[in-house]
């Protein structure tokens, strides 16, 4: 226990240097900005800024990029409450009751509760990460290729279970993602695979290109095809700070939301997005007046908002301790670490303690800054929301193009992302989810690498995955989870979590 405080002390010493406080502030500011603007997400923003971070030191770069991610969670709620469209996918639930509150002239209280809830969630999540960091890393060191492979398979199964909609489609999307990650030079033999002799495919498909295509451009196509109704609240926002009584009424929802979000955030795939939904469902279930939900209940704002912030932060745990990215943003973080020459995995905590603990400490500082950035500056963000979409999306196109080009100064990447945007639009039309595809793609290369290593060690025997007790245990958990997901009764309640909201 004392170690945790000692380590956090080291972290704060790193994070509180003038330079890192500045990077944290910049990250939070950019994060809030892209969170507020609908249609620009943290994935696209971090992709664009990835080449830029090359000039920074690793700690500063990661502090800034992390700030963008959790900052976007704060900003997303502003748009959800004031405009009734989620600025971020994780703020979908907030829009329901938050916007109702805004219509009743209580926009300020909704924003205030969201910010305070997020801050409490951020504080608790920071402690959770600090406490789990060392034990998780120790566990990670016990893992060989066999166990890593099984852990990833289990993670992908969880991603399927947590995805909503058809199970068949979710599994298929993960497999397509893994398959796409195989394109390009074979990591062992260097032989080109499925590249059709195209130069731009020799090194495989860049993750940033895939992400900007199926998330960035596809989102624009989607909005052009089915425009979202904007409904900006006119009139005053009202007081921002909730009264003590309102705080007391909401603290339960905030703490429950934090707990739910923190647990789901660690799980791969939809974890961070599912958190707010689960929190909303939980609040509705225990509420004395469930019929009021949807008409502006404060708990339906503070709970889910705490959940998405907690989830955004705890999703760093698998990345920092095991080197496994649980979602698309964390996959970009892997990229950010790699270009700095740091290989993510359990060794990071020993080799780069100042990075590990500095990043964790910066999250708390960032959360404090976000409360300050968000509440008093709310007028500024509201102004930003009046930028019409007809100007916003050309700007997004231009930023994405510049970002795509600067990955490798190659125009072919820009075109490929455009084509992938069409693919993403088709996926949306056929109701395939893009998130499992991105996750499969992210874990694909690692999955194949570990599979091959494991089979080399075991002389080609597949039995190695069940004869290692740890690996067998992980696979068993995955199998049980999959069985549960297929069972009709569980499937129903899984759908209900989304239907409720």
């Amino acid at each position: 226990m004392m170690d945790v405080f000692y380590n956090l002390g080291l972290g704060f010493a790193v994070a509180l240097t003038l330079k890192n406080v500045f990077f944290c502030f910049v990250g939070c500011l950019i994060g809030t900005l892209v969170g507020v603007l609908p249609g620009v997400g943290p994935v696209a923003t971090i992709s664009i800024l990835l080449p830029v971070t090359l000039a920074l030191d690793p700690t500063g770069a990661l502090i800034m990029l992390a700030g963008i991610y959790y900052g976007a969670q704060y900003g997303g709620s502003t748009t959800a409450i004031l405009v009734n469209i989620p600025g971020e996918a994780t703020a979908v639930v907030t829009a329901i009751d938050g916007h109702e509150m805004a219509k009743q002239g209580k926009a300020g209280v909704a924003l205030g509760l969201a910010a305070i809830g997020s801050f409490i969630a951020g504080t608790i999540a920071t402690i959770v990460i600090a406490a789990l960091g060392v034990p998780m890393t120790k566990m990670g060191l016990l893992f060989g290729p066999t166990e890593y492979f099984s852990l990833m398979v289990m993670g992908l199964v969880f991603a399927v279970v947590l995805a909503h909609g058809s199970l068949t489609k979710a599994v298929a999307m993960i497999l397509v993602g893994v398959l796409l990650s195989c394109v390009g030079a074979d990591m062992e033999t260097g032989r080109e695979r499925m590249s059709f002799g195209l130069h731009m495919l020799t090194d495989g498909i860049e993750f940033v290109v895939l992400a900007m295509g199926i998330f960035g451009f596809a989102e624009i196509f989607k909005n052009l095809a089915d425009p979202e109704k904007r409904d900006l609240v006119k009139g005053s926002i009202g007081r921002l700070w909730p009264t003590l009584r309102e705080l007391r009424e909401n603290i339960g929802a905030i703490l429950r939301g934090t707990g739910i979000g923190a647990i789901l955030g660690v799980l791969p795939g939809n974890g961070a997005i599912l958190g707010p939904f689960a929190s909303y469902a939980a609040e509705k279930r225990i509420s004395k007046r469930p019929q009021d939900f949807g008409k502006g209940v404060p708990q339906a704002v503070s709970g889910p908002e705490s959940a998405n912030n907690a989830g955004a932060q705890t999703s760093f745990i698998p990345l920092l301790t095991l080197g496994l990215p649980p979602n698309a943003v964390m996959a970009l973080m892997v990229g950010a670490m790699m270009i700095q020459g740091i290989v993510p995995g359990p060794q990071v905590i020993d080799r780069n303690p100042e990075l590990f603990w500095g990043l964790i400490a910066s999250m708390w500082i960032g959360n404090l800054m976000l409360v300050i950035i968000n509440l008093p500056l709310i007028g500024l963000w509201v102004k930003l929301l009046s930028v019409p979409y007809r100007l916003l999306f050309p700007a997004i196109v231009a930023f994405c193009c510049i970002g795509l080009f600067s990955i490798s100064n190659d125009a072919a990447q820009v075109m490929m992302a455009g084509v992938l945007g069409l693919v993403g639009f088709a996926l949306y039309k056929l109701q395939f989810e893009a998130a499992p595809l991105a996750l499969g793609f992210v874990l694909g290369r690692l999955l194949e690498e570990k599979l091959r290593q494991a089979l080399i060690i075991s002389d080609g025997s597949m039995m190695t995955f069940v004869s290692s007790p740890l690996s067998a245990f992980l696979l068993a958990i995955g199998a049980v989870a999959l069985c549960f997901a297929v069972l009709p009764s569980i499937r129903k309640s899984r759908e209900d979590v989304f239907k409720d909201a």
Binding site: V92, T168, C401, Q431
Partner: protein, 175 residues
């Protein structure tokens, strides 16, 4: 966000001749899987050292085809739901905007003719104006002013503030 827009029931197609969304999804999976099988046909499944470079891609492709068949079987008898509008024409300006950026930023050789390196100064406003035409409520003057302003900001931000090695306007200022 997709579950918000896609969750609601879509009206069934008037004619049952057309394939519905779910059946189409199954067919696309089968198609993609078969294509991947074709693309990876030359890769060895096993080598002497162990797993060959074809094992993962080919087994995945087979699984995807299998899932496509499962999807078809499961949804075959469901009423065909429409996938809604595919307004490709409305999307074209954005695609062309992206394409124009790609061919002008560092030039492009089409064989018959070649585009010189025009740099950010040309590529950025071109992509903004072209893609902006996709909006139904487009205002040309506003869009042009916006494009010029944003280009200046982008050049200032990416080339000067962030020191990215992007060509600005080699034909004008040499870099």
């Amino acid at each position: 966000m997709s579950h918000e827009t896609s969750g609601g029931p879509t009206p069934p197609l008037a004619s049952s001749f057309f394939l519905g969304r779910e059946q189409l999804a199954g067919l696309s999976l089968i198609g993609f899987g078969l294509f991947a099988l074709y693309a990876s046909a030359d890769l060895p499944f096993f080598t002497q050292g162990g797993v060959g470079s074809g094992l993962m891609p080919r087994s995945l492709a087979v699984l995807i085809v299998f899932l496509g068949i499962v999807q078809l079987v499961l949804t075959w008898r469901q009423p065909a739901e429409s996938t809604g509008r595919w307004p490709i024409r409305d999307m074209m300006p954005v695609l062309i905007g992206i394409f124009l950026f790609a061919v002008t930023i560092r030039g492009f050789d089409f064989g018959a003719f070649r585009i010189p390196v025009l740099g950010m100064l040309v590529a950025t406003p071109l992509s903004i104006i072209c893609s902006g035409l996709a909006a139904k409520d487009v205002r040309p003057v506003e869009l042009t002013i916006f494009a010029i302003t944003l280009t200046a900001i982008c050049i200032g931000l990416f080339r000067y503030a962030l020191a990215q090695p992007l060509p600005v306007a080699p034909w004008l200022i040499g870099y």
